[in-house]
Each structure stands twice: as structure tokens, then as C-alpha cells.
């Protein structure tokens, strides 16, 4: 697989605060890569460095295996933190300016404005835009020229639920076109829905890096319902595969050891005379894993 971004030993210090402590990352072509971490973990600093606006104290990064030059950034569409546009210019003129900088001959500005849902405001000046509209315009700008890589830092900030769903669809649509996406977000549910890989940062260090499926492996739980919850719990605890039990909304959630199949559990329950009213698998949650990781890993 082709390397899109290679980060090696990246470090950044702001006065006496170490924002990044020797970060290493590798992002491959076509990945939808989530960058997770609590506030101050170094996500935005990392993206700021690889986008050329923050200077690292140490370490290197490399785009497309070619280096760090400004011409390489023209192949990247990015939204870092907040949308940044000229307030006195219209949405369309702001995008024309961005297209000029990126040296895009036919930027298809209206198409991108429509994709982001702000075409009807194309001739309005940027300072009249609401927070959500600004965010949508920034996404349209990042999409100009169909970049090979899309870097989105909190792209759903300020968006209403409809906007969040639109951005999710847009990311999925873009990812299907073989575009590499780097997404930093606090919305773990969103990340889980769209990302193939994640890196988790804490206090400037990487504490996990890999496929989302790997992270969630073994975190699957069974949802079981019965008209006799007390009996259900009692019987489940008799099974050697059952690691834990929880109750939620009239259902029993159980974590089972690796190597056991759900069918074995249901057969065991039936054999023990439990009347099963509900039986399904619940996928592991990135949020739960993320929180567990932050509390356990240093």
C-alpha cells in the first residue's frame, strides 16, 4: 500500500508545555484515519505541523513519500480547527481565491458549494454566515479540486444534526472515491461510523494505532431478554464463557470469552429452561474502548 503520510518522532513544545512527545504515525492510501484524544492531547498540533502552519521542535513528516513542500499541500484539502475566510468576500470569491492558491484550473466551485449545501448563499459575504454555514463552506473549500487527502479537524463543529449527517455522508462518499481522509473528532460515534483506522493520543503520545475492527475485537457483547430476568442472570452466570453481566433497558448484556460462539450460549439457556424473548449481538463501542484506554494507559 502507498504511504500517504509518514510522521516520525514529531515533538512540539509551547513554552514549558510539551504538546507532542515524539509521535510516530503512518497513514496509507485510501484509509479513513481517525485521530482521537482528549483536549490537549496533541491532535490539532499534529495536524497543524503536517499542514505547515506549526513548526515542530523535533522530528519529521513526509507527504506522499516526497517531503514537506508547499506544492504537496496543494494535493490536500484541509479544515483545521475553525473555518478561516475573508469576511468581506462572498462565499464564491473566497473559494475562487482558494482555488487560485491551489492552482486549480477548473475548480467546479458551484458543484462543491452544492455538495456542502451552501450554493444558495454563494453570493453572500462570509461575515453574514452562521457558524454552521461557515463550517459547510470550509468543507466545500477543502473539497476543491478533489484532493488526494482530506484533513478534517472537528468537521461537525457547529453543525445541526442534519448537518452532521450530511458531513458523515460526504466523508463516506469521498472515502469511496479512494481519497485518504484524516479525521480528528470528539464525536466517537461518528469516527466509529466512518473510520477504518484510528490513532489515540494522550498527552502528546500515541497510545493506540490500528484498525477500528482490531480495537473493537473481543468487545462484542450479547443482548439477551427473557420474561424471567432473575433466572436468566442466574443461568448465564453458570456458563464458563460469561465474563460479566449488566442490565440495561430490561435486557441483560453479557461479555463472553473469546472462542465461544453466541449459539452455544443460546443453546445452554434453552437447555436450562430459560424462555428467551430477545437475543442479539451488540457491537463494541469505540467510546467505551476509548474511555477505558484513557483511564488505563499512560
Amino acid at each position: 500500500m502507498k504511504n500517504i503520510l509518514n510522521i516520525s518522532g514529531l515533538a512540539k513544545r509551547y513554552h514549558n508545555v510539551e504538546a507532542l512527545k515524539g509521535l510516530n504515525l503512518e497513514i496509507q492510501k485510501g484509509q479513513v484515519y481517525g485521530l482521537l484524544g482528549p483536549n490537549g492531547s496533541g491532535k490539532t498540533t499534529t495536524l497543524g505541523i503536517v499542514l505547515g502552519v506549526i513548526l515542530p521542535n523535533n522530528g519529521t513528516y513526509n507527504w506522499f513519500g516526497m517531503g514537506t513542500g508547499s506544492s504537496l499541500r496543494k494535493r490536500i484539502g484541509a479544515l483545521l480547527e475553525k473555518p478561516n475566510f475573508y469576511p468581506h468576500l462572498t462565499a464564491r470569491n473566497n473559494l475562487k481565491l482558494a482555488a487560485d492558491i491551489k492552482e486549480i484550473d477548473k475548480p467546479a466551485i458551484d458543484e462543491k458549494l452544492e455538495l456542502a449545501g451552501v450554493l444558495q448563499y454563494a453570493n453572500r459575504k462570509y461575515f453574514t454566515f452562521s457558524t454552521g454555514m461557515k463550517q459547510r463552506l470550509a468543507i466545500a473549500s477543502a473539497m476543491l479540486g478533489n484532493p488526494e487527502v482530506l484533513v478534517l479537524d472537528e468537521p461537525t463543529n457547529g453543525l445541526d444534526p442534519e448537518g452532521i449527517a450530511d458531513v458523515r455522508k460526504l466523508i463516506q462518499h469521498t472515502a469511496n472515491n479512494d481519497t485518504t481522509i484524516i479525521l480528528a473528532s470528539h464525536l466517537l460515534d461518528e469516527v466509529q461510523k466512518v473510520c477504518s483506522h484510528v490513532a489515540v493520543l494522550k498527552s502528546g503520545r500515541k497510545i493506540f494505532n490500528g484498525a477500528v475492527s482490531d480495537l473493537l475485537l473481543g468487545t462484542e457483547r450479547l443482548e439477551v431478554g427473557s420474561d424471567d430476568i432473575r433466572l436468566l442472570k442466574q443461568v448465564l452466570l453458570e456458563h464458563p464463557a460469561v465474563k460479566s453481566l449488566d442490565e440495561e433497558g430490561g435486557l441483560v448484556l453479557t461479555e463472553i470469552s473469546e472462542g465461544y460462539k453466541a449459539g452455544e450460549i443460546s443453546a445452554f439457556l434453552i437447555k436450562k429452561g430459560v424462555n428467551i424473548t430477545h437475543f442479539s449481538k451488540r457491537a463494541g463501542s469505540l467510546e467505551a474502548e476509548f474511555l477505558a484506554m484513557l483511564t488505563t494507559k499512560e
Partner: protein
């Protein structure tokens, strides 16, 4: 280069403050020409003798004096255009559009060069205006009985261009350094009228004339004392031009180095 010009043009074309300040600068030049004698008498330039002189009988606006007289007076209004440079930098920093330009693929050198082009453009516009104003007024006031070489003394126009360009580059550097419009403007004025004069007290006489603002301001020497019989420098000193040019290069390098070493 064409792309940088187009990018900077797009940024400025929709900016009200750009047009207001540009028109204000041009209006200030024209108003000072229309009321040239009054303007000179009111300003007085710290030379009390000038207020005693009947300027209406002096060849203020005829060749060759007009070249030096008008470029000297027009130099007062360079601060208005410097404000365009300052706001164009500080707004880019405040709105974080400088940061976005870099993210979009502009190099830091490219950004600096685009602002340098703006400085050059503004200096050129003002120089062209002053050149044609001098040409029209000088020709109008020319005594047909006494035809002289009308371009004698026109070197002051080149000096005017260099004075403006260097001052704008200096303003660009200050704006990058302090990042705030008001502060940059205050600093620009304070250095010219407070810090440099104080510093010159402590410097040997041979050096105080070479401080940046002093050397820029002295490129076109105060011309009006010639009308009270005092000797004035009526040509542009090549050495002065070179020193100002070196300051322009120095401030450019300083601004670029600062930009390249800063987090945006």
C-alpha cells in the same frame, strides 16, 4: 508571480478599507496641491521664517522646483497607504486567513512576496499619480517665454517611489511583528517621532542621520528654505538612495525570516 498578483488582487478588490484609504491618499495629495501655499504655511516645518514669506510670488509649482516641492509634501501622506499594508497583514493574522493560505498550499515566501507586490503596487500608484500631477501642474504654470528642461529634477520621483516602498516594507515588518493594527500604527509613528529622535541623542552625529526613519525621511530634503535664501540639497543623493535600498532589503529579510520562524 501572476498567480500571486491575482490572489492579492482578489483579496484587496472587495475590501472597503483598501479603497477608502487609497482614495483618501489620492484626495490628500490633490487637496495639498490645490492649497499648496496654505498647506506649506500651516505646516511651517519648524522654520519660522517661511511664515513671513509671500509664497504666492515664489516658483513653488514651476519647473524644476515643483519636482522636489511636491514629492516632499506628498511624502507626508505615505502613512495612509502604509495603513493598507498594516491592515492587510493584521487582518490576515486576526482572521487566520494567512494560516489558511499556507494550508491551501501557498508557501510562506509566496505569502510574503504577495504582500511585497502590494507594497510595490501602492508605491507605484502613488508615484504615477504624483508624476502626472507634477507634469500637468508644472506644464500649466510653465512660463512659455522661459522654457527649461521640464524633467530636470524628476529624479525626486524615483526617490519618492523608493521612500514609499521602503516605508511600506518597514510597515509590513512592524505589522508582522506586533500583529495588531492599532499597535503597529502607533509603533510606526512612535519610532519616527519619539524613539529615533531619542536614540539620536545618544548616537554620534555621524550616525544619527542613518537611522531608518531619518534616512527615509531625508531622501527628499526639506526644500522650502530655499525661498528664504538658505541653501538646500536640490538633487537626490545616490548614497542616500543606496542606503534606503539597503534598508528595504534588510526589512524584507527580517520580515521574511520572522514569518518563516513563526507558528501561524
Amino acid at each position: 508571480m501572476n498567480r500571486l498578483i491575482r490572489v492579492e488582487f482578489r483579496k484587496q478588490i472587495g475590501s472597503k478599507s483598501f479603497w477608502i484609504l487609497l482614495i483618501l491618499h489620492i484626495a490628500a495629495i490633490f487637496l495639498s496641491i490645490v492649497n499648496f501655499q496654505k498647506f506649506i504655511q500651516n505646516v511651517q516645518f519648524n522654520v519660522n521664517d517661511i511664515s513671513e514669506v509671500d509664497l504666492s510670488i515664489m516658483p513653488l509649482l514651476t519647473y524644476p522646483d515643483i519636482w522636489q516641492n511636491m514629492t516632499y509634501v506628498a511624502g507626508f501622506f505615505k502613512i495612509i497607504l502604509a495603513l493598507i499594508i498594516i491592515t492587510s497583514i493584521t487582518n490576515e493574522i486576526a482572521n487566520k486567513t494567512l494560516r489558511q493560505n499556507i494550508i491551501d498550499g501557498m508557501s510562506r515566501e509566496g505569502f510574503f512576496f504577495s504582500k511585497l507586490l502590494l507594497a510595490g503596487f501602492l508605491a507605484l500608484v502613488s508615484t504615477v499619480i504624483i508624476f502626472f500631477a507634477i507634469y500637468v501642474i508644472g506644464t500649466y504654470n510653465q512660463d512659455p517665454e522661459n522654457v527649461t528642461n521640464i524633467f530636470e529634477g524628476s529624479g525626486f520621483v524615483a526617490a519618492y517611489f523608493l521612500e514609499l516602498l521602503t516605508y511600506f516594507i518597514y510597515a509590513l515588518f512592524v505589522a508582522l511583528l506586533v500583529k495588531r493594527t492599532g499597535l503597529a500604527l502607533v509603533l510606526l509613528i512612535a519610532i519616527d517621532f519619539i524613539f529615533e529622535p531619542i536614540l539620536s541623542i545618544f548616537l554620534p552625529d555621524v550616525l544619527d542621520g542613518y537611522l531608518p526613519m531619518a534616512v527615509i525621511d531625508n531622501l527628499i530634503r526639506f526644500p522650502f528654505t530655499r525661498y528664504v535664501g538658505m541653501e538646500v540639497e536640490t538633487t537626490v543623493s545616490a548614497i542616500q538612495m543606496i542606503i534606503v535600498g539597503l534598508y528595504a532589503i534588510f526589512f524584507s529579510m527580517a520580515a521574511l525570516t520572522w514569518l518563516k520562524r513563526s507558528d501561524l
